[in-house]
Protein backbone atom coordinates (compact mmCIF):
# COMPACT_ATOMS: atom_id res chain seq x y z
CA UNK A 1 0.00 0.00 0.00
CA UNK A 2 2.66 2.46 1.10
CA UNK A 3 4.85 1.32 -1.77
CA UNK A 4 2.08 1.89 -4.31
CA UNK A 5 1.35 5.30 -2.86
CA UNK A 6 5.01 6.30 -3.08
CA UNK A 7 5.19 5.09 -6.68
CA UNK A 8 2.01 6.89 -7.64
CA UNK A 9 2.82 10.22 -6.00
CA UNK A 10 6.38 9.97 -7.32
CA UNK A 11 5.13 9.38 -10.86
CA UNK A 12 2.63 12.25 -10.76
CA UNK A 13 5.22 14.70 -9.40
CA UNK A 14 7.90 13.57 -11.87
CA UNK A 15 5.43 13.98 -14.72
CA UNK A 16 4.66 17.46 -13.42
CA UNK A 17 8.38 18.19 -13.32
CA UNK A 18 8.82 16.99 -16.92
CA UNK A 19 5.86 18.99 -18.17
CA UNK A 20 7.42 22.19 -16.83
CA UNK A 21 10.49 22.01 -19.02
CA UNK A 22 10.05 23.99 -22.24
CA UNK A 23 12.56 21.72 -23.94
CA UNK A 24 10.80 18.47 -22.98
CA UNK A 25 7.43 19.93 -23.93
CA UNK A 26 8.70 21.10 -27.32
CA UNK A 27 10.20 17.68 -28.00
CA UNK A 28 7.01 15.95 -26.94
CA UNK A 29 4.91 18.22 -29.14
CA UNK A 30 6.97 18.15 -32.29
CA UNK A 31 8.50 14.71 -32.56
CA UNK A 32 5.27 12.67 -32.86
CA UNK A 33 3.99 14.99 -35.57
CA UNK A 34 7.15 14.51 -37.58
CA UNK A 35 6.93 10.77 -37.07
CA UNK A 36 3.27 10.59 -38.01
CA UNK A 37 3.96 12.57 -41.17
CA UNK A 38 6.83 10.28 -42.10
CA UNK A 39 4.73 7.20 -41.44
CA UNK A 40 1.91 8.49 -43.60
CA UNK A 41 4.19 9.23 -46.55
CA UNK A 42 6.02 5.95 -46.20
CA UNK A 43 2.81 3.96 -46.37
CA UNK A 44 1.19 6.13 -49.06
CA UNK A 45 4.28 5.61 -51.18
CA UNK A 46 4.10 1.92 -50.36
CA UNK A 47 0.63 1.87 -51.83
CA UNK A 48 -0.94 0.43 -48.70
CA UNK A 49 -3.49 3.08 -47.67
CA UNK A 50 -5.49 0.53 -45.63
CA UNK A 51 -2.56 0.30 -43.26
CA UNK A 52 -2.38 4.02 -42.53
CA UNK A 53 -4.06 3.81 -39.13
CA UNK A 54 -1.81 0.93 -38.16
CA UNK A 55 1.16 3.04 -39.19
CA UNK A 56 -0.06 6.00 -37.18
CA UNK A 57 -0.43 3.83 -34.08
CA UNK A 58 3.06 2.43 -34.63
CA UNK A 59 4.44 5.93 -35.01
CA UNK A 60 2.68 6.96 -31.81
CA UNK A 61 4.26 4.09 -29.93
CA UNK A 62 7.65 5.09 -31.29
CA UNK A 63 7.04 8.45 -29.65
CA UNK A 64 6.27 6.76 -26.32
CA UNK A 65 9.49 4.76 -26.49
CA UNK A 66 11.55 7.81 -27.48
CA UNK A 67 10.10 9.61 -24.48
CA UNK A 68 11.00 6.74 -22.12
CA UNK A 69 14.53 6.39 -23.43
CA UNK A 70 15.62 10.00 -23.76
CA UNK A 71 13.37 11.07 -20.89
CA UNK A 72 14.79 8.64 -18.30
CA UNK A 73 18.35 9.11 -19.49
CA UNK A 74 17.95 12.86 -19.52
CA UNK A 75 16.23 12.98 -16.13
CA UNK A 76 18.96 10.99 -14.42
CA UNK A 77 21.75 12.92 -16.11
CA UNK A 78 20.08 16.22 -15.28
CA UNK A 79 19.74 15.19 -11.65
CA UNK A 80 23.34 14.07 -11.51
CA UNK A 81 24.24 17.54 -12.75
CA UNK A 82 21.92 19.29 -10.29
CA UNK A 83 23.05 17.19 -7.34
CA UNK A 84 19.56 15.82 -6.71
CA UNK A 85 20.50 12.28 -7.79
CA UNK A 86 22.57 11.98 -4.62
CA UNK A 87 19.75 13.46 -2.59
CA UNK A 88 17.12 11.00 -3.80
CA UNK A 89 19.45 7.99 -3.62
CA UNK A 90 20.13 9.02 -0.04
CA UNK A 91 16.55 8.43 1.04
CA UNK A 92 15.93 5.27 3.05
CA UNK A 93 13.73 3.52 0.46
CA UNK A 94 14.61 0.86 -2.08
CA UNK A 95 16.13 2.54 -5.14
CA UNK A 96 13.32 1.11 -7.30
CA UNK A 97 10.84 3.36 -5.47
CA UNK A 98 13.07 6.27 -6.36
CA UNK A 99 13.84 5.47 -10.00
CA UNK A 100 10.69 3.70 -11.25
CA UNK A 101 8.48 6.83 -10.91
CA UNK A 102 11.03 8.60 -13.06
CA UNK A 103 10.74 6.17 -15.95
CA UNK A 104 7.00 5.66 -15.44
CA UNK A 105 6.50 9.41 -15.71
CA UNK A 106 8.27 9.45 -19.07
CA UNK A 107 5.96 6.66 -20.28
CA UNK A 108 2.89 8.58 -19.08
CA UNK A 109 3.94 11.85 -20.71
CA UNK A 110 5.02 9.88 -23.79
CA UNK A 111 1.43 8.72 -24.15
CA UNK A 112 0.65 12.15 -25.38
CA UNK A 113 2.70 11.20 -28.45
CA UNK A 114 0.26 8.39 -29.19
CA UNK A 115 -2.79 10.61 -28.88
CA UNK A 116 -1.16 13.45 -30.81
CA UNK A 117 -0.14 11.16 -33.65
CA UNK A 118 -3.65 9.79 -34.04
CA UNK A 119 -5.23 13.24 -33.93
CA UNK A 120 -2.67 14.64 -36.38
CA UNK A 121 -3.35 11.77 -38.73
CA UNK A 122 -7.09 12.37 -38.43
CA UNK A 123 -7.00 16.13 -38.85
CA UNK A 124 -4.30 16.53 -41.47
CA UNK A 125 -4.46 13.32 -43.46
CA UNK A 126 -8.02 12.30 -42.76
CA UNK A 127 -7.09 8.89 -41.41
CA UNK A 128 -10.28 7.71 -39.67
CA UNK A 129 -9.79 6.45 -36.13
CA UNK A 130 -12.00 3.38 -36.38
CA UNK A 131 -10.51 0.94 -33.92
CA UNK A 132 -11.46 -2.73 -34.05
CA UNK A 133 -11.61 -2.98 -30.23
CA UNK A 134 -11.77 0.49 -28.67
CA UNK A 135 -11.92 -0.85 -25.10
CA UNK A 136 -9.02 -3.22 -25.63
CA UNK A 137 -7.13 -0.34 -27.26
CA UNK A 138 -7.39 1.57 -23.99
CA UNK A 139 -6.18 -1.45 -22.05
CA UNK A 140 -3.33 -2.01 -24.51
CA UNK A 141 -2.29 1.64 -24.10
CA UNK A 142 -2.15 1.23 -20.32
CA UNK A 143 -0.19 -2.01 -20.72
CA UNK A 144 2.25 -0.18 -23.00
CA UNK A 145 2.77 2.56 -20.40
CA UNK A 146 3.40 -0.01 -17.67
CA UNK A 147 5.54 -2.30 -19.84
CA UNK A 148 7.66 0.50 -21.27
CA UNK A 149 8.05 2.13 -17.86
CA UNK A 150 9.38 -1.13 -16.39
CA UNK A 151 11.62 -1.75 -19.40
CA UNK A 152 12.87 1.81 -18.91
CA UNK A 153 13.81 0.96 -15.32
CA UNK A 154 16.09 -1.79 -16.55
CA UNK A 155 17.93 0.71 -18.75
CA UNK A 156 17.85 3.39 -16.07
CA UNK A 157 19.79 1.16 -13.69
CA UNK A 158 22.80 1.59 -15.98
CA UNK A 159 22.20 5.36 -16.13
CA UNK A 160 22.63 5.40 -12.35
CA UNK A 161 25.92 3.53 -12.51
CA UNK A 162 27.63 5.02 -15.54
CA UNK A 163 28.22 8.73 -15.73
CA UNK A 164 27.37 9.01 -19.42
CA UNK A 165 25.27 5.92 -19.99
CA UNK A 166 22.45 8.00 -21.44
CA UNK A 167 24.69 9.12 -24.29
CA UNK A 168 25.37 5.47 -25.06
CA UNK A 169 21.71 4.48 -24.69
CA UNK A 170 20.14 7.26 -26.76
CA UNK A 171 20.86 5.49 -30.09
CA UNK A 172 18.70 2.60 -28.77
CA UNK A 173 15.67 4.44 -30.21
CA UNK A 174 16.02 2.91 -33.67
CA UNK A 175 16.85 -0.71 -32.86
CA UNK A 176 13.90 -0.97 -30.48
CA UNK A 177 11.55 0.65 -32.98
CA UNK A 178 12.67 -1.79 -35.63
CA UNK A 179 12.93 -4.93 -33.53
CA UNK A 180 9.55 -4.48 -31.85
CA UNK A 181 7.74 -3.94 -35.13
CA UNK A 182 6.68 -0.35 -34.52
CA UNK A 183 8.08 0.83 -37.83
CA UNK A 184 7.74 -2.17 -40.11
CA UNK A 185 6.14 -5.57 -39.49
CA UNK A 186 8.45 -8.01 -37.70
CA UNK A 187 7.86 -10.51 -40.50
CA UNK A 188 10.05 -8.49 -42.87
CA UNK A 189 13.05 -8.54 -40.51
CA UNK A 190 15.83 -11.16 -40.74
CA UNK A 191 15.08 -14.35 -38.81
CA UNK A 192 17.85 -13.86 -36.24
CA UNK A 193 16.05 -10.85 -34.82
CA UNK A 194 12.98 -12.87 -33.85
CA UNK A 195 14.26 -14.22 -30.50
CA UNK A 196 15.37 -10.74 -29.45
CA UNK A 197 12.02 -9.26 -30.43
CA UNK A 198 10.18 -11.99 -28.53
CA UNK A 199 11.68 -10.97 -25.16
CA UNK A 200 11.13 -7.22 -25.53
CA UNK A 201 8.00 -5.91 -23.77
CA UNK A 202 7.81 -3.29 -26.52
CA UNK A 203 7.19 -5.98 -29.15
CA UNK A 204 4.12 -7.30 -27.32
CA UNK A 205 2.88 -3.85 -26.46
CA UNK A 206 3.10 -2.85 -30.12
CA UNK A 207 1.39 -6.07 -31.09
CA UNK A 208 -1.44 -5.52 -28.60
CA UNK A 209 -2.00 -2.03 -29.96
CA UNK A 210 -1.98 -3.29 -33.54
CA UNK A 211 -4.41 -6.08 -32.72
CA UNK A 212 -6.73 -3.62 -31.01
CA UNK A 213 -6.54 -1.38 -34.06
CA UNK A 214 -7.05 -3.83 -36.91
CA UNK A 215 -8.53 -6.79 -35.05
CA UNK A 216 -6.94 -9.72 -33.26
CA UNK A 217 -6.82 -11.45 -29.88
CA UNK A 218 -5.22 -8.41 -28.03
CA UNK A 219 -5.46 -9.79 -24.47
CA UNK A 220 -2.74 -12.48 -24.73
CA UNK A 221 -0.35 -9.84 -26.09
CA UNK A 222 -1.25 -7.51 -23.22
CA UNK A 223 -0.57 -10.33 -20.77
CA UNK A 224 2.82 -11.12 -22.27
CA UNK A 225 3.77 -7.42 -22.40
CA UNK A 226 2.98 -7.05 -18.69
CA UNK A 227 4.72 -10.32 -17.77
CA UNK A 228 7.90 -9.34 -19.62
CA UNK A 229 7.64 -5.88 -18.04
CA UNK A 230 7.51 -7.51 -14.62
CA UNK A 231 10.63 -9.52 -15.45
CA UNK A 232 12.34 -6.23 -16.39
CA UNK A 233 11.16 -4.75 -13.10
CA UNK A 234 12.58 -7.59 -11.01
CA UNK A 235 15.81 -7.65 -12.98
CA UNK A 236 15.99 -3.86 -12.81
CA UNK A 237 15.48 -3.92 -9.04
CA UNK A 238 18.32 -6.38 -8.53
CA UNK A 239 20.64 -4.49 -10.87
CA UNK A 240 19.72 -1.13 -9.38
CA UNK A 241 20.61 -2.33 -5.88
CA UNK A 242 23.97 -3.66 -7.02
CA UNK A 243 24.68 -0.70 -9.32
CA UNK A 244 23.87 1.69 -6.50
CA UNK A 245 26.58 0.08 -4.45
CA UNK A 246 29.02 0.17 -7.32
CA UNK A 247 28.18 3.80 -7.98
CA UNK A 248 29.04 4.56 -4.35
CA UNK A 249 32.38 2.84 -4.83
CA UNK A 250 33.11 4.49 -8.17
CA UNK A 251 31.82 7.93 -7.12
CA UNK A 252 29.51 8.28 -10.13
CA UNK A 253 26.38 9.57 -8.40
CA UNK A 254 27.77 13.09 -8.68
CA UNK A 255 29.63 14.80 -11.45
CA UNK A 256 32.66 16.25 -9.70
Amino acid sequence: MRTLRTLLIGTVLRAKHLSRSPFEVAMALVIPLVQATLAVYLFRAGDEPHRLLEAAVGAGLMGVWASVLTGSGGAIQHQRFEGTLEIIMLTPRHPVLVILPLTAATAVTGCYALVATLLWGRLVYGIPIDLAHPLAFGAATLACIAGLGMFGLLLASTFVLLRNANALANPLDYPIWLLSGMLVPISVLPAWTAPIAAVLPTTWGARALREATVGGPVWPSIGICLALGTVCLVLGAVLLKSFERRARAAATLALA
Binding site: G10, K16, T84, R248
Partner: protein
Protein backbone atom coordinates in the same frame (compact mmCIF):
# COMPACT_ATOMS: atom_id res chain seq x y z
CA UNK B 1 22.52 -1.64 18.93
CA UNK B 2 22.27 2.12 18.88
CA UNK B 3 25.47 3.72 20.03
CA UNK B 4 26.00 6.61 22.41
CA UNK B 5 28.20 8.17 19.81
CA UNK B 6 26.56 9.83 16.87
CA UNK B 7 29.56 9.21 14.65
CA UNK B 8 32.54 6.90 14.97
CA UNK B 9 35.10 6.73 12.18
CA UNK B 10 38.34 4.79 12.13
CA UNK B 11 41.04 5.03 9.52
CA UNK B 12 38.81 6.41 6.79
CA UNK B 13 40.52 6.65 3.43
CA UNK B 14 39.23 7.40 0.00
CA UNK B 15 40.98 7.45 -3.34
CA UNK B 16 39.35 8.52 -6.58
CA UNK B 17 40.34 6.96 -9.85
CA UNK B 18 39.75 9.11 -12.85
CA UNK B 19 40.19 8.36 -16.52
CA UNK B 20 40.52 11.06 -19.08
CA UNK B 21 40.73 10.69 -22.83
CA UNK B 22 39.30 7.98 -25.04
CA UNK B 23 42.03 6.93 -27.40
CA UNK B 24 44.91 7.06 -25.01
CA UNK B 25 43.26 7.03 -21.57
CA UNK B 26 45.24 8.64 -18.81
CA UNK B 27 44.52 7.16 -15.42
CA UNK B 28 45.03 9.19 -12.32
CA UNK B 29 44.45 8.45 -8.68
CA UNK B 30 43.72 11.15 -6.16
CA UNK B 31 44.13 10.36 -2.49
CA UNK B 32 41.41 12.66 -1.22
CA UNK B 33 41.25 11.37 2.38
CA UNK B 34 44.22 9.62 3.95
CA UNK B 35 43.22 8.12 7.26
CA UNK B 36 40.73 10.02 9.38
CA UNK B 37 39.66 9.02 12.89
CA UNK B 38 36.85 10.84 14.61
CA UNK B 39 34.16 10.41 17.19
CA UNK B 40 31.32 12.83 17.56
CA UNK B 41 29.05 12.73 20.59
CA UNK B 42 25.30 12.93 20.33
CA UNK B 43 24.10 16.52 20.18
CA UNK B 44 27.55 17.84 19.39
CA UNK B 45 28.11 20.52 16.77
CA UNK B 46 31.24 19.44 14.99
CA UNK B 47 33.10 21.48 12.39
CA UNK B 48 35.33 20.32 9.55
CA UNK B 49 37.47 23.26 8.57
CA UNK B 50 39.98 23.24 5.77
CA UNK B 51 41.15 24.77 2.50
CA UNK B 52 39.86 23.83 -0.98
CA UNK B 53 40.47 20.21 -1.83
CA UNK B 54 41.26 19.28 1.78
CA UNK B 55 38.85 16.34 1.66
CA UNK B 56 35.93 17.77 3.65
CA UNK B 57 33.20 16.85 1.18
CA UNK B 58 34.72 13.42 0.61
CA UNK B 59 34.72 12.78 4.37
CA UNK B 60 31.09 13.86 4.68
CA UNK B 61 30.03 11.68 1.76
CA UNK B 62 31.69 8.64 3.30
CA UNK B 63 29.86 9.29 6.57
CA UNK B 64 26.48 9.80 4.87
CA UNK B 65 26.70 6.60 2.74
CA UNK B 66 27.16 8.34 -0.63
CA UNK B 67 30.71 7.05 -1.02
CA UNK B 68 32.16 3.74 0.05
CA UNK B 69 35.49 4.26 1.84
CA UNK B 70 38.56 2.76 0.18
CA UNK B 71 39.65 1.69 3.67
CA UNK B 72 38.48 2.12 7.23
CA UNK B 73 35.06 1.97 8.83
CA UNK B 74 32.45 4.41 10.00
CA UNK B 75 29.29 4.07 12.03
CA UNK B 76 26.40 6.46 12.52
CA UNK B 77 24.60 5.80 15.81
CA UNK B 78 26.25 2.38 15.73
CA UNK B 79 25.16 1.46 12.20
CA UNK B 80 27.76 0.75 9.56
CA UNK B 81 27.73 3.22 6.68
CA UNK B 82 28.60 0.61 4.06
CA UNK B 83 26.39 -2.31 5.05
CA UNK B 84 23.51 -0.80 7.04
CA UNK B 85 22.64 2.02 4.71
CA UNK B 86 18.92 1.93 5.34
CA UNK B 87 19.36 2.29 9.12
CA UNK B 88 21.89 5.06 8.60
CA UNK B 89 19.81 6.91 6.00
CA UNK B 90 16.75 6.92 8.25
CA UNK B 91 18.72 8.84 10.82
CA UNK B 92 20.62 11.38 8.76
CA UNK B 93 20.05 14.50 6.74
CA UNK B 94 22.34 16.08 4.17
CA UNK B 95 22.33 19.63 2.88
CA UNK B 96 24.92 21.19 0.63
CA UNK B 97 25.44 24.82 -0.21
CA UNK B 98 24.50 26.58 -3.41
CA UNK B 99 21.06 26.71 -5.01
CA UNK B 100 20.77 22.99 -5.41
CA UNK B 101 19.15 20.00 -3.80
CA UNK B 102 15.51 20.79 -4.54
CA UNK B 103 13.48 20.66 -7.74
CA UNK B 104 13.21 24.23 -8.92
CA UNK B 105 10.53 23.36 -11.46
CA UNK B 106 8.21 22.21 -8.68
CA UNK B 107 6.47 24.25 -6.00
CA UNK B 108 7.58 24.22 -2.39
CA UNK B 109 4.56 22.09 -1.54
CA UNK B 110 5.29 19.51 -4.25
CA UNK B 111 8.95 19.29 -3.23
CA UNK B 112 7.90 18.61 0.34
CA UNK B 113 5.31 16.03 -0.71
CA UNK B 114 7.87 14.22 -2.84
CA UNK B 115 10.49 14.02 -0.13
CA UNK B 116 7.92 13.19 2.55
CA UNK B 117 7.06 10.11 0.47
CA UNK B 118 10.70 9.18 -0.15
CA UNK B 119 11.46 9.49 3.55
CA UNK B 120 8.44 7.36 4.38
CA UNK B 121 6.71 9.99 6.52
CA UNK B 122 3.34 8.36 7.36
CA UNK B 123 0.53 9.85 5.20
CA UNK B 124 -1.52 10.94 8.22
CA UNK B 125 1.43 13.04 9.52
CA UNK B 126 2.42 14.52 6.18
CA UNK B 127 -0.14 17.30 5.94
CA UNK B 128 0.56 18.58 9.43
CA UNK B 129 4.35 18.41 9.09
CA UNK B 130 4.39 20.08 5.71
CA UNK B 131 2.17 22.89 7.01
CA UNK B 132 4.46 23.36 10.02
CA UNK B 133 7.49 23.54 7.79
CA UNK B 134 5.98 26.03 5.38
CA UNK B 135 5.09 28.14 8.39
CA UNK B 136 8.62 27.82 9.74
CA UNK B 137 10.29 29.02 6.54
CA UNK B 138 7.66 31.71 6.08
CA UNK B 139 6.13 30.23 2.95
CA UNK B 140 2.57 29.76 4.19
CA UNK B 141 0.26 31.04 1.46
CA UNK B 142 3.07 30.91 -1.10
CA UNK B 143 3.42 27.12 -1.14
CA UNK B 144 2.36 26.96 -4.79
CA UNK B 145 5.29 29.10 -5.88
CA UNK B 146 8.43 27.49 -7.13
CA UNK B 147 11.16 27.06 -4.56
CA UNK B 148 14.11 29.36 -4.23
CA UNK B 149 17.48 28.74 -2.68
CA UNK B 150 16.54 29.99 0.76
CA UNK B 151 14.25 27.11 1.44
CA UNK B 152 16.57 24.31 0.43
CA UNK B 153 17.26 23.25 3.99
CA UNK B 154 13.60 22.65 4.78
CA UNK B 155 13.52 19.25 3.11
CA UNK B 156 15.67 17.98 5.95
CA UNK B 157 13.17 18.83 8.60
CA UNK B 158 10.51 16.55 7.26
CA UNK B 159 11.96 13.54 8.95
CA UNK B 160 13.82 15.26 11.80
CA UNK B 161 17.21 13.60 11.34
CA UNK B 162 19.32 12.68 14.36
CA UNK B 163 22.53 13.51 12.55
CA UNK B 164 22.67 16.38 10.09
CA UNK B 165 25.50 16.89 7.60
CA UNK B 166 25.89 20.42 6.28
CA UNK B 167 28.45 20.89 3.53
CA UNK B 168 29.28 24.59 3.27
CA UNK B 169 25.72 25.64 4.03
CA UNK B 170 26.49 29.34 3.97
CA UNK B 171 28.07 29.43 0.52
CA UNK B 172 26.35 31.99 -1.69
CA UNK B 173 24.07 33.13 1.12
CA UNK B 174 23.80 36.83 1.97
CA UNK B 175 25.04 37.95 5.42
CA UNK B 176 21.57 38.34 6.89
CA UNK B 177 20.45 34.89 5.72
CA UNK B 178 23.78 33.48 6.91
CA UNK B 179 23.15 34.81 10.40
CA UNK B 180 19.65 33.31 10.28
CA UNK B 181 21.19 30.03 9.16
CA UNK B 182 23.69 30.01 12.01
CA UNK B 183 20.85 30.61 14.44
CA UNK B 184 18.90 27.71 12.98
CA UNK B 185 21.90 25.38 13.16
CA UNK B 186 22.62 26.36 16.75
CA UNK B 187 18.95 25.80 17.57
CA UNK B 188 18.97 22.32 16.04
CA UNK B 189 22.06 21.37 18.01
CA UNK B 190 20.53 22.75 21.20
CA UNK B 191 17.52 20.54 20.49
CA UNK B 192 19.73 17.45 20.47
CA UNK B 193 20.52 17.06 16.77
CA UNK B 194 24.11 16.15 16.03
CA UNK B 195 25.47 18.48 13.37
CA UNK B 196 28.57 18.09 11.23
CA UNK B 197 29.37 21.23 9.33
CA UNK B 198 32.08 21.97 6.81
CA UNK B 199 33.18 25.50 6.15
CA UNK B 200 35.94 27.73 4.88
CA UNK B 201 34.93 30.44 7.28
CA UNK B 202 36.80 30.56 10.51
CA UNK B 203 34.35 32.89 12.18
CA UNK B 204 31.47 30.58 11.39
CA UNK B 205 33.27 27.56 12.85
CA UNK B 206 34.40 29.58 15.87
CA UNK B 207 30.93 30.87 16.63
CA UNK B 208 29.04 27.63 16.14
CA UNK B 209 31.15 24.58 16.77
CA UNK B 210 31.77 22.70 19.99
CA UNK B 211 34.81 21.10 18.40
CA UNK B 212 36.63 21.68 15.15
CA UNK B 213 38.81 19.35 13.10
CA UNK B 214 41.19 21.25 10.86
CA UNK B 215 41.71 19.11 7.82
CA UNK B 216 44.21 19.57 5.04
CA UNK B 217 45.74 17.19 2.54
CA UNK B 218 43.17 14.56 3.50
CA UNK B 219 44.35 14.35 7.11
CA UNK B 220 43.27 15.88 10.38
CA UNK B 221 45.96 18.38 11.31
CA UNK B 222 44.43 19.51 14.59
CA UNK B 223 41.30 18.75 16.55
CA UNK B 224 39.86 20.51 19.55
CA UNK B 225 37.56 23.20 20.87
CA UNK B 226 37.93 26.64 19.29
CA UNK B 227 39.79 27.77 22.43
CA UNK B 228 42.20 24.84 22.21
CA UNK B 229 42.92 25.56 18.57
CA UNK B 230 43.42 29.24 19.30
CA UNK B 231 46.08 28.31 21.84
CA UNK B 232 48.08 26.77 19.00
CA UNK B 233 49.10 30.30 18.18
CA UNK B 234 50.05 31.10 21.79
CA UNK B 235 53.55 32.45 22.05
CA UNK B 236 53.25 34.13 18.70
CA UNK B 237 52.81 37.67 17.54
CA UNK B 238 51.34 38.87 14.27
CA UNK B 239 52.47 41.76 12.08
CA UNK B 240 50.05 42.91 9.41
CA UNK B 241 51.19 45.14 6.59
CA UNK B 242 49.09 46.66 3.82
CA UNK B 243 51.17 46.96 0.68
CA UNK B 244 50.86 47.58 -3.07
CA UNK B 245 52.64 45.36 -5.60
CA UNK B 246 54.78 43.10 -3.45
CA UNK B 247 57.04 40.87 -5.61
CA UNK B 248 57.27 37.14 -4.82
CA UNK B 249 60.95 37.54 -4.07
CA UNK B 250 60.15 39.90 -1.20
CA UNK B 251 57.73 37.35 0.25
CA UNK B 252 60.30 34.57 0.17
CA UNK B 253 62.74 36.93 1.82
CA UNK B 254 60.20 37.54 4.61
CA UNK B 255 59.83 33.77 5.09
CA UNK B 256 63.59 33.51 5.64
CA UNK B 257 63.77 36.12 8.41
CA UNK B 258 64.83 34.81 11.84
CA UNK B 259 61.84 34.27 14.15
CA UNK B 260 59.24 34.28 11.33
CA UNK B 261 56.92 31.22 11.43
CA UNK B 262 54.21 31.86 8.83
CA UNK B 263 53.76 34.37 6.06
CA UNK B 264 50.55 34.73 4.08
CA UNK B 265 49.39 37.17 1.43
CA UNK B 266 45.78 38.04 0.73
CA UNK B 267 44.81 40.13 -2.29
CA UNK B 268 42.25 42.82 -1.53
CA UNK B 269 41.76 44.61 -4.81
CA UNK B 270 44.82 46.70 -5.59
CA UNK B 271 46.02 46.19 -2.04
CA UNK B 272 47.79 43.17 -0.60
CA UNK B 273 47.52 42.24 3.05
CA UNK B 274 50.70 40.57 4.35
CA UNK B 275 50.36 38.64 7.58
CA UNK B 276 53.60 37.62 9.25
CA UNK B 277 53.51 35.38 12.32
CA UNK B 278 56.59 35.25 14.47
CA UNK B 279 57.70 34.01 17.87
CA UNK B 280 56.37 36.54 20.36
CA UNK B 281 59.78 37.23 21.90
CA UNK B 282 61.31 38.26 18.57
CA UNK B 283 60.34 41.69 17.28
CA UNK B 284 60.30 41.20 13.53
CA UNK B 285 58.48 44.37 12.53
CA UNK B 286 61.68 46.30 11.84
CA UNK B 287 63.13 43.46 9.74
CA UNK B 288 59.86 43.10 7.81
CA UNK B 289 59.74 46.79 6.93
CA UNK B 290 63.40 46.69 5.88
CA UNK B 291 62.69 43.83 3.45
CA UNK B 292 59.78 45.82 2.01
CA UNK B 293 61.84 48.97 1.49
CA UNK B 294 60.91 50.75 -1.74
CA UNK B 295 57.42 49.21 -1.87
CA UNK B 296 54.42 51.46 -1.30
CA UNK B 297 52.92 50.60 2.09
CA UNK B 298 49.65 51.38 3.88
CA UNK B 299 48.73 50.58 7.48
CA UNK B 300 51.20 48.57 9.56
CA UNK B 301 49.93 46.81 12.66
CA UNK B 302 51.20 44.43 15.31
CA UNK B 303 48.64 42.35 17.22
CA UNK B 304 47.77 39.23 19.22
CA UNK B 305 46.99 36.11 17.18
CA UNK B 306 43.36 35.10 16.46
CA UNK B 307 41.78 31.73 15.67
CA UNK B 308 42.38 32.53 12.02
CA UNK B 309 46.12 32.86 12.67
CA UNK B 310 46.03 29.54 14.50
CA UNK B 311 44.33 28.01 11.47
CA UNK B 312 46.95 29.46 9.13
CA UNK B 313 49.66 28.08 11.39
CA UNK B 314 48.06 24.61 11.47
CA UNK B 315 47.44 24.39 7.74
CA UNK B 316 50.83 25.95 7.01
CA UNK B 317 52.60 23.33 9.12
CA UNK B 318 50.85 20.48 7.28
Amino acid sequence: MESDYAIEAEGLRRTYRTRTGWLRPRRETVEAVRGIDLTVRRGELFGLLGPNGAGKTTTIKMLNTLLIPTAGTARIRGFDVVEQTREVRRRIGYVFGGDRGLYDRLSALDNLRYFAELYGVPPRDQRRRIAELLELVGLTGREQERVEGYSRGMRQRLHAPEVLFLDEPSIGVDPVAARELRRTVAGLAAGGTTVVLTTHYMAEADELCDRIAVISGGEIQALGTPAELRSRADGRRVVEVEAYGVPDTAISALRGLPGVRETSVEDRGALQLLTVQSDAHVDVQGDVLRELAGIRLGRVDSREPTLEDAYVAIVGAA
